[in-house]
């Protein structure tokens, strides 16, 4: 009975957060919903158009392209960064002075501001003066990320791997460190191979942190903006134009506030859907132990 009463009044504890979120997120969201159903010419000049912008945005071939590119990019990021992060976390030292050194080294890319990452790679990958660009061309590959779509894609992908794999490594490393030694001792007594230890001890124990890593990497990669914008400007053509860049061009470049608002809401709903699915999965896995 006491638990029941406690459960019923628990909402009071979250009330301050609800109020802060109401002002910082819900009111702007309401404004975006209002914008999405109007044609806005100025502060006092707007007309109700109903669901017109949603129809326009949902049937826009350019935005379909950006959405497909975004999904391919996020899927590639997850497929590369999650296994790579696990592998590197397994290789990290478990104790000694090397631990601090490795942790600091891994944290460095995460500390670099997103637009600076783009600038670093813009110079680094230049085929005429950039170290990576010159070396790749010297090896006999015709590499030019400013003129070739595939090169641009690969460069954006490698840049993202450089920037964010550390996060996966750090999360996995924390997960690995939390596994009690008794598990490894039992495996040794049973004569388990290295693969068996990974498959039956480490991987199941990493499930929780891996889901958080997948969720964070999905959300971050799905709303990526600054890095590819600085590196390629969305080009060549539209080949590296992702959703957030299309949205910014629409809202700020063309000042199409109505369609941009409709587009933002669709974008928001997609992220909300995936985040909720991940949340339910994490919750369910926690319960199953």
């Amino acid at each position: 009975m006491d638990n029941k009463r406690e459960y019923q009044w628990a909402w009071l504890m979250v009330l301050p957060v609800v109020l802060v979120v109401a002002f910082s997120a819900i009111m702007p969201l309401m404004t975006v919903v209002n914008y999405s159903v109007q044609d806005i010419f100025g502060p006092n000049s707007r007309f109700f158009v109903g669901t017109e912008w949603f129809k326009e945005v949902l049937r826009d071939a350019e935005l379909h392209g950006a959405l497909i590119r975004q999904f391919i990019f996020s899927a590639s990021v997850l497929l590369i960064q999650i296994p790579l992060g696990i592998a590197l976390a397994l290789c990290m030292p478990k104790k000694g002075a090397g631990v601090s050194f490795a942790l600091v080294l891994l944290a460095l890319p995460l500390l670099v501001p997103w637009n600076v990452v783009g600038t670093i790679w813009q110079v680094f990958a230049r085929p005429d003066v950039g170290l990576a660009g010159v070396v790749i061309n010297a090896l006999g590959f015709d590499y030019n990320y400013t003129g070739d779509s595939l090169d641009a894609w690969l460069t954006v992908l490698v840049m993202d791997v450089w920037h964010w794999t550390s996060l996966v490594i750090l999360l996995c490393y924390a997960g690995l460190q939390a596994i009690p030694d008794a598990f490894y001792q039992a495996a040794r007594i049973d004569g388990a191979s290295r693969w068996a230890v990974f498959r039956y001890i480490e991987l199941p124990k990493l499930k929780g942190v891996l889901l958080i890593a997948v969720l964070l990497r999905f959300i971050f990669s799905f709303r990526i903006y600054a890095e590819p914008f600085v590196l390629t400007g969305g080009g060549p053509g539209n080949s590296t134009t992702f959703l957030s860049q299309s949205l910014t061009t629409m809202a700020v470049g063309q000042f199409d506030l109505g369609p941009a608002a409709a587009f933002s809401l669709i974008y928001f709903l997609i992220i909300l859907l995936f985040s909720y699915v991940f949340y339910l999965t994490i919750l369910n896995m926690d319960r199953e132990g």
Binding site: N34, K55, L269
Partner: protein
């Protein structure tokens, strides 16, 4: 933006349909909040693969309904009321059997 606009929330560019939409959401939340006091919800397992509370199922109903409307707008020129009708059926099934 002038000061009056800030005080009157004119900057939010309110329209009547959106106001009705958000009022409906708030009413729904209040009703479910009151229900929580009168008839507290506990997790149960329906046809969904995870145990859910009444609030979970409400959220899934709202999110699913939003996507039903988006799909309708993207692929059909027929009245949006059909999408709303499908959403009502979907939400009912979700809340009752989810």
């Amino acid at each position: 933006m002038n000061q009056d606009a800030g005080l009157t929330l004119a900057w939010m560019a309110w329209t009547q349909p959106v106001a009705i939409f958000f009022t409906a959401i708030v009413v729904m939340l209040v009703v479910f909040g009151v229900l929580q006091f009168v008839l507290p919800t506990y997790e149960r397992r329906g046809f969904l693969p995870v145990p859910t509370t009444r609030g979970d199922r409400l959220f899934m109903s709202l999110l699913g309904s939003a996507f039903i409307h988006l799909f309708w707008l993207g692929f059909s020129d027929a009245s949006l009321l059909f999408a709303s009708a499908i959403s009502v059926v979907y939400a009912t099934v979700m809340l009752r059997y989810g």
